[in-house]
């Protein structure tokens, strides 16, 4: 599964980076993502991803690892976990690239990975659609959070 999204944030790259680097606060901008907590600062975090696909509820305890951090431009992280109730594994690699754009920042979000198991069997298109919606909303919430 590949996703890409771009959003213009009304904040300088350094200001946006402060938000992104505050990983629990950044995670709170991901729809369905909650209970974010730090395990090892700037290295490992935990969170829980909750989503509904039709009548099916997904709840995945995620381990988030920071793979690369190049302030104020680039953040790469991995998020993975398993929902044993629904028998589904998620493994994603997310890249956040910040580039100055006028007075603001152009944020490019890239995500790739897979959803395996029973929910994956529902069809790639269903998962892709959900993920794209989540990514759009993530961009919107980040933009709002960066302005405040």
């Amino acid at each position: 599964m590949h996703l890409a999204h771009e959003v213009l944030i009304e904040a300088a790259p350094e200001a946006l980076w402060r938000l992104l680097w505050d990983v629990p606060r950044m995670a709170a901008c991901v729809p369905g993502c909650g209970e974010a907590e730090e395990v090892t600062r700037h290295q490992t975090y935990r969170a829980r991803m909750t989503q509904k696909v039709g009548p099916i509820s997904l709840s995945v305890p995620l381990v988030v690892e920071i793979l690369a951090a190049e302030p104020p431009g680039r953040l790469v992280l991995s998020a993975s976990g398993r929902d044993p109730v629904v028998g589904t594994d998620i493994a994603m690699r997310v890249t956040l690239d910040c580039a100055p754009d006028g007075a603001g920042t152009r944020l490019h979000i890239g995500a790739e990975g897979q959803v395996l198991g029973k929910l994956g069997a529902l069809g790639h298109s269903v998962i892709q659609r959900k993920a794209e919606e989540a990514m759009d909303e993530f961009g919107r919430r980040l933009a709002r959070a960066a302005r405040s």
Partner: protein, 302 residues
């Protein structure tokens, strides 16, 4: 094996509302169970309460009034298939109901359950679009009617709130003189592509005066092909019957399709054009009482 649950069998809608209020998302509405029990076996949904709709009077009715056909939510596909009312007003619906899944699923599965589950591969959800279908939703707070087009939002997703019950669907067949066809293509248990068409001819019976087209299975939800419908207006029906429908500029390449087990997005878009042309050919031939050979591999022609 299913996980244990309590089964309630109310006989009125207010009782259902009370049960849904009491149990919230621990409860699941149940009629034929053809999708629900499968999900429960997989552990994908784990309701602790099932609310059986089959004993609620009124949900199982099938009647015509004012040119519209009302199908209650708990009416089984098999009943639709054999219904004299459906056969008289919209025989295409009876024909498509005859080909839903298999005989056992048709005996148990319901129209309401099918629409409420919103499987992107549903034949009925595609077909009903060309009958301007409207879905009735009842809750303790009131009733509303939603066009089917708006009711289905995406794969397995509808606008039905958790406290609402889908009670019926209303179909409005086209004015008399319309001819229709439904083509369903695929090799798997669920179809890969479904095309529904209804054509109404002008008074001279030479040109199309109204066209209704719906495409299902390949995108996140079934959709009416309104651009193509407009282009078809005025077209010579003999051209369509000869398979010479010109689909360029009809917006068919803008349809959303996703690559999955049924095929690549490109393949699906190409097949959408192929089968739309074929469906138009069948409908046009029927409208002009021509006999044509409409046999295509792995395709059910209704």
């Amino acid at each position: 094996m299913l996980r244990p649950f309590a089964l309630y069998r109310p006989t009125t809608l207010p009782e259902i509302a009370a049960l849904l209020r009491k149990y919230g998302d621990e409860a699941a509405l149940y009629a034929g169970g053809t999708e629900l029990l499968l999900l429960m076996k997989e552990g994908l949904v784990r309701p602790r309460v099932l609310v059986d709709l089959k004993r609620v009077a009124g949900l199982g009715e099938l009647a015509a009034s004012d040119g519209a056909v009302n199908i209650g939510a708990t009416v089984q596909h098999r009943t639709v298939e054999r219904s004299v009312v459906v056969g008289a007003h919209c025989p295409l619906v009876a024909g498509v109901a005859r080909h839903v899944a298999n005989a056992r699923v048709r005996a148990a599965g319901t129209v309401g359950g099918n629409l409420a589950f919103a499987d992107p591969h549903s034949d009925l959800a595609t077909l009903f679009l060309v009958f301007d279908a409207r879905v009735s939703l009842w809750s303790g707070d009131g009733e509303r009617e939603v066009p089917l087009d708006e009711f289905v939002r995406g794969p397995y997703e509808t606008v039905r709130r958790d406290d609402e019950v889908l009670t019926a669907v209303r179909l409005r067949p086209a004015a008399s003189g319309g001819a229709g066809a439904y083509l369903k293509f695929g090799v798997y248990e669920r179809p890969t592509l479904g095309v529904a068409v209804v054509l109404v001819l002008d008074a001279q019976r030479r040109r199309v005066s109204e066209a209704r087209l719906a495409l299902g299975c390949i995108g996140p939800r079934p959709q009416r092909l309104s651009h193509l419908e407009q282009r078809l207006r005025g077209m010579l029906v003999d051209e369509l019957a000869a398979g010479r429908a010109d689909l360029t500029g009809s917006g068919m390449d803008a349809i959303s399709a996703a690559t999955d087990l049924h095929g690549s997005a490109d393949y699906k878009l190409e097949m959408a054009q192929v089968f739309t042309r074929r469906a138009l050919r069948v409908a046009a031939a029927r409208a002009t009482h021509q006999v044509i050979d409409a046999r295509y591999p792995y395709t059910v022609v209704v």
